[in-house]
Symmetry: C2
Subunit: 136 residues, 2 copies
DNA sequence: CGTCCAGCTTACGTTAACGTCAAGATGCTG
DNA sequence: CAGCATCTTGACGTTAACGTAAGCTGGACG
């Protein structure tokens, strides 16, 4: 047994836990989204890294870029400092929300449009099939 | 007057008509999405190119990749041939529609989630601001 | 005739978020 | 000790859909 669970995870455990690749975790570290400790040269991911990663993945679902996520994460961290920065975060999030709403609305339009097209297409195919049958 | 409108458009007219850049049109030609004629070395875009471009742009709104769009366009063109191919097109479009619906639903979830977070954030900011005031 | 404008081709640049080697360190195990 | 797995750091590759710049051409205008 890898002894494990002294509250820190190896990179592999981390990957398995969150369904990402090692490359991704190193990448996130390089981008200063995660700050794993070290044992020698090996990374040790703490609970805090886990929490951050969870937020990162959620952020991605929201459609934030990693850079935006980094900023948001940084602002989580300050806690006591600059209110201005925090409300800036807030703005970013609001913007993103608006983007998402817009995007959704566009999607809804597109969906309807495409559904119409498909009805059309159904008819065409149907008629072509009867043509085919008629031709036999 | 550039005489124009002998049913063909120059690249610029085309761009103005559809709100794209020349680069884009050349790119689409390179990708075999459009087939403008030539007058010497200058491109002449026909009505057919216009129709195709309209479909291309719509396809993009739907979230199709240019490659997918090319395939769909090719299948429009056959007209008389293979029904199988046509229904294949149909399937692709259906798949895309399902993708879009899924995507929209995810977006809706994300939007709600983010809205919740924002309520949270509002409170935090409000309380911090009163802290700030209290500190002065 | 000069010059200006629109268009052409070729080709390298861009961005995001990793993937994919390569080469070396470390550690366990039989 | 050999071997193997797992980790590390670098560094270059990938994809999509164009952007951008350089250098050439051909016609129109004054």
């Amino acid at each position: 047994m890898t002894d494990m669970s002294e509250d820190t995870k190896s990179i592999r455990e981390m990957c398995d836990a969150f369904g990402v690749t090692p490359r991704t975790l190193r990448f996130y570290e390089a981008k200063e989204l995660l700050f794993p400790h070290r044992d020698g040269q090996k990374r040790l991911f703490t609970k805090r890294d886990g929490a951050r990663l969870k937020l990162i993945l959620r952020g991605k679902r929201f459609g934030f870029s990693l850079e935006e996520i980094r900023q948001l994460l940084d602002l989580y961290h300050i806690g006591d400092q600059q209110i201005t920065q925090l409300s800036r975060t807030f703005e970013i999030a609001c913007d993103r929300l608006n983007d998402m709403v817009r995007q959704r609305d566009e999607l809804n339009e597109a969906i309807e449009e495409l559904q119409d097209q498909l009805k059309w297409g159904e008819k065409v195919i149907a008629s072509m099939q009867s043509d085919q049958e008629a031709a036999e």
